[in-house]
């Protein structure tokens, strides 16, 4: 591997969180963004082609070394690491609405979901998946919520644009189109 690729690999190994691209560029002041991109490609190809237990994944404007899914169970069985809890359906619904409609207030979320959202918003905020991004103009200047970089990390997204566009969603619910029940 090139010296730059080795440096980046070391930094990626040392970090628990994805490292933003510009931080990676700063590791070697003489490197160019193109050289960093090439070095990242080199690392990724090595991990993929040489049969490594980890892979290089692009997440939320950065890069992160993650273990491959096939080893998850063995690692968890040995209690070396534990998978985080799954989010509840209600939490996922709330996240989905915030992701597509942000900045959005609590009332709007409740209108769409048909149930109260206060407690779920609070717990999502505590988990760092959504945060207050501003205040609305309406009565009482309601708090407006948006997704955080941690949201992208949680779903291994690079940016919100990776979610399906609203017009790509199939909304037809006619019996002619069988729905998974």
């Amino acid at each position: 591997m090139t010296p730059l690729a080795r440096l980046l690999e070391a930094a990626l190994f040392a970090s628990a969180r994805p490292i933003p691209s510009d931080t990676l560029s700063q590791l070697d002041p003489e490197s160019t963004p193109a050289a960093v991109a090439a070095a990242l490609d080199e690392i990724r190809e090595r991990y993929d082609n040489e049969g490594h237990g980890v892979e290089l994944v692009a997440v939320s404007d950065g890069w992160q070394i993650l273990t491959r899914p096939e080893y998850t169970e063995a690692i968890e069985r040995a209690q070396l690491a534990a998978r985080p809890q799954r989010l509840s359906g209600a939490a996922l619904e709330t996240l989905a609405i915030v992701a597509y409609r942000q900045p959005i207030g609590r009332m709007e979320i409740e209108d769409i979901r048909g149930v109260g959202a206060g407690a779920i918003l609070k717990s999502l905020q505590e988990r760092g998946l959504v945060d207050v991004v501003g205040r609305g103009e309406g009565m009482g200047r309601p708090l407006l919520y948006g997704t955080t970089p941690l949201f992208l990390e949680h779903f291994a997204l690079r940016h919100l644009g990776e979610l399906p566009r609203a017009d790509e969603l199939t909304v037809a619910l006619r019996p002619a189109l069988p729905q998974a029940s």
């Binding site: 509840s88 407690a119 779920i120 501003g134 029940s181």
Partner: protein, 255 residues
């Protein structure tokens, strides 16, 4: 319906920590809200969402929520009431020949379609989240050394913290008292003249002899500064005979 009841029992027996976490939020195991339940009924009954047989669906909806702890299910009850109202509106005779008849189900259909979109995004998020859950990142334990220079770190607060702080402060704030401040120059020279005049007449004087009782603060300050000025130049001596006694001024010190 029995199935719903059984699952409900399972949930309360099996996952007590879930209830603690979500407080008052009641969630049937398979439904995350009344719209979810409604969508599931529409699917099960294989009906056209654009032409919902509202009477049948309302009846099914009521049957399904019957097994729930009714006290906690206000949102489901609200939906049930909405369905019954739509059902009643559908029974009203339609004005003949009028184009502008508005289907009472239209708003419900719009909400259901919107909610269905959300459910589809949830499926995507669930898949992505599961995929990410199955990969471990390095678990880095923050070394304690970090805490040493904690004071040097820039103050960190989220926007929510800021809004909360502003609200807290504004709630406590009283109406501001507006003062008009009129600048008044001190007249030290004038005070020195009047002290000299008093001291020319008497050998000793006290504070009360040189400041009138109704003196304004600026006059008192002028006299004080004048006294200190005179004492500094040696024209005047200030003596306190014993602790806590009044100061005595005497003018006969020089020469």
């Amino acid at each position: 319906m029995t199935a719903v009841e059984v699952r409900d029992d399972e949930r309360s027996a099996g996952q007590p920590e879930d209830e603690v976490q979500h407080g008052f939020i009641v969630e049937l195991p398979e439904f995350s809200g009344p719209l979810d339940l409604l969508l599931s009924l529409i699917r099960d009954e294989q009906v056209d969402i654009y032409d919902i047989p509202i009477a049948r669906i309302a009846e099914q909806f009521l049957a399904r929520i019957h097994g729930m702890a009714i006290d906690d299910a206000a949102d489901y009850l609200e939906m049930a009431a909405r369905l019954l109202r739509i059902k009643a509106q559908m029974l009203l005779p339609r004005p003949e020949g009028m184009e502008a008849w508005e289907d009472p189900r239209a708003e419900l259909v719009r909400r259901l379609l919107e909610y269905q979109q959300v459910r589809e995004v949830v499926d995507v998020l669930e898949r992505l989240g599961d995929d990410r859950r199955n990969r471990f990142a390095r678990s880095y334990v923050q070394p304690q050394v970090e805490q040493i220079d904690r004071d040097d770190r820039p103050f960190a607060a989220t926007l929510a913290d800021l809004f909360a702080a502003v609200d807290r402060v504004l709630r406590q704030a009283k109406r501001p008292l507006v003062h008009d401040v009129i600048p008044r120059a001190l007249d030290v020279d004038g005070a020195m003249k009047s002290i000299r005049a008093v001291m020319a007449l008497r050998a000793r004087a006290r504070w009360g002899d040189i400041v009138s009782r109704d003196a304004e603060p600026w006059q008192i300050l002028s006299v004080l500064l004048a006294l200190l000025e005179l004492a500094k130049s040696g024209e005047l001596r200030i003596v306190q005979p014993k602790p806590f006694a009044s100061m005595e001024l005497s003018g006969d010190t020089v020469s």
